[in-house]
């Protein structure tokens, strides 16, 4: 079966920022996204692992499959959104079956 090259973005970000990121992802032209609702972790801003009372210490992982240009637009636009917030953006190469889907 013919496969088409796309980019995969994995954005791990604190829950407080996920709404803003998802809105940006959609505006940037991605056709879809997937959210892993609760991940914990450690990064430059310390341990983030405690979702009991509020979402202040909860992370989510947002996965976006998109064409290269859209993916790069999302990467660019994510940077100002992540200032002062815990979050990383990871890009990789993937292949999909339906070119027009993404």
């Amino acid at each position: 079966m013919q496969l088409y090259k796309k980019k995969k973005l994995e954005i791990i970000v604190e829950a407080a920022r996920s709404r803003a990121i998802i809105e940006m992802v959609e505006k940037a032209g991605a056709h879809g996204y997937t959210v892993v609702p609760q991940v914990s972790g450690k990064g430059n801003r310390g341990v983030r692992d405690d979702a009991h009372l509020s979402d202040v210490f909860r992370n989510v992982m947002i996965i976006v499959i998109a064409a290269e240009d859209i993916a790069h637009r999302i990467v660019d636009q994510s940077q100002p959104l992540l200032e002062h917030y815990a979050g990383i953006v990871v890009v990789s190469d993937v292949e999909v079956v339906r070119d027009e889907h993404f």
């Binding site: 803003a20 405690d50 509020s54 202040v56 002062h84």
Partner: protein, 334 residues
């Protein structure tokens, strides 16, 4: 004094405080004891619903009077103004930067529902009555403090030169407004209060087997969970620093005193005075942190959550509640 010690000792040996202590110990020793997050959130919603509904039902029984209107205005006034005091103390004695000071200040103008609920349990165990509408006061105190906190942060920023830009951006973004006014806890508390008010005694009869009978036991379990959270936060004390830590201990006493005197002035019973003192003394750790994370992202959440949850909350639970109650009785006896 003697009476206070007795109250304090009785409080220390209550299941509530002991379960809290068990939680702190287990959390500190890194036991894997943990309520599942869903249970923990469920209990927290239960407390909101129960306390709101009961408060509303009691207001329906007592009716809405002039005194009550005054009390509600007092609540809003306390929430708006306490952060100014807190901010001043944090900037001067606490030597904290503008943003963190504003963020923390907002927490202390708002309230801790669990501390309030524990205080009602304390009063209930001793048969001390209190005005049902104090719950409405609590609901009204949840959010005004956030506005003050944001104003303080903006004023400081504009003073620092970025004046024009700062004043042009709206104080509340849409996201922050939603976080504040549509926060699940606020909506459930206010909504349950309204339903309790509308359905009154009849409604209470239906809800009682779930929200009255097991209420105190549920608080005890919830405090176990709070203890676990506090215990796991103890290592974050390093992030806080002793000057700010001290603030977490003296601010509740100052706020509590203001609450005490003003509630006494408008004529509340000793039970009601105790609860208003607790409201003024306690600091939010659910609604305000979420709002601050959005509105003032430069402020360090490890500091404000640790301070309100791991310093002020235990202080109020263990020392504050009996202290404010002893003072309220004294005041009433004068």
């Amino acid at each position: 004094m003697n009476e206070f010690l007795q109250l304090a000792a009785g409080n220390l040996l209550s299941p509530m405080v002991l379960f809290f202590a068990l939680g702190v110990t287990a959390g500190w020793l890194k036991s894997d004891l943990a309520l599942p997050e869903a249970v923990s959130k469920g209990l927290s919603l239960y407390l909101m619903l129960a306390i709101g509904f009961k408060g509303g039902a009691e207001l329906a029984a007592s009716g809405l009077t002039g005194t009550i209107a005054v009390a509600l205005v007092l609540a809003i006034a306390l929430s708006f103004t306490l952060p100014v005091l807190a901010y001043g103390l944090l900037r001067s004695l606490g030597r904290l930067d503008v943003t963190n000071a504003a963020a923390i200040a907002a927490h202390y103008g708002s309230v801790s529902v669990v501390t309030f609920v524990a205080a009602t349990g304390f009063l209930g165990n001793r048969g001390i009555p209190f005005e049902g509408y104090v719950v409405a006061m609590m609901a009204l105190m949840e959010t005004p403090a956030i506005v003050t906190g944001l104003l303080l942060a903006r004023r400081a920023r504009s003073a620092a030169g970025a004046e024009a830009a700062a004043l042009r951006t709206p104080l509340f973004s849409r996201d922050v407004a939603r976080e504040v006014f549509l926060s699940g806890s606020v909506v459930l508390l206010v909504g349950s209060f309204a339903i309790g008010w509308a359905t009154g005694e009849k409604g209470l009869a239906i809800m009682a087997p779930a929200i009255v009978d097991p209420f105190k036991a549920v608080i005890a379990v919830f405090l176990l969970d709070m203890g676990l959270l506090v215990g796991r936060r103890l290592p974050d004390f390093r992030a806080v620093g002793w000057r700010v830590m001290a603030f977490g201990l003296y601010m509740p006493v100052i706020g509590g005193t203001i609450g005490l005197l003003s509630a006494h002035a408008i004529g509340l019973s000793p039970g009601g005075v105790t609860l208003v003192a607790v409201l003024a003394a306690s600091a939010s750790y659910i609604v305000v942190p979420a709002a601050m994370r959005m509105a003032l992202p430069k402020a360090n959440p490890a500091v404000y959550v640790t301070l309100s949850l791991a310093v002020t909350f235990p202080f109020n639970l263990i020392v504050g509640i009996p202290l404010y109650n002893a003072a309220a009785r004294l005041l009433a006896a004068m």
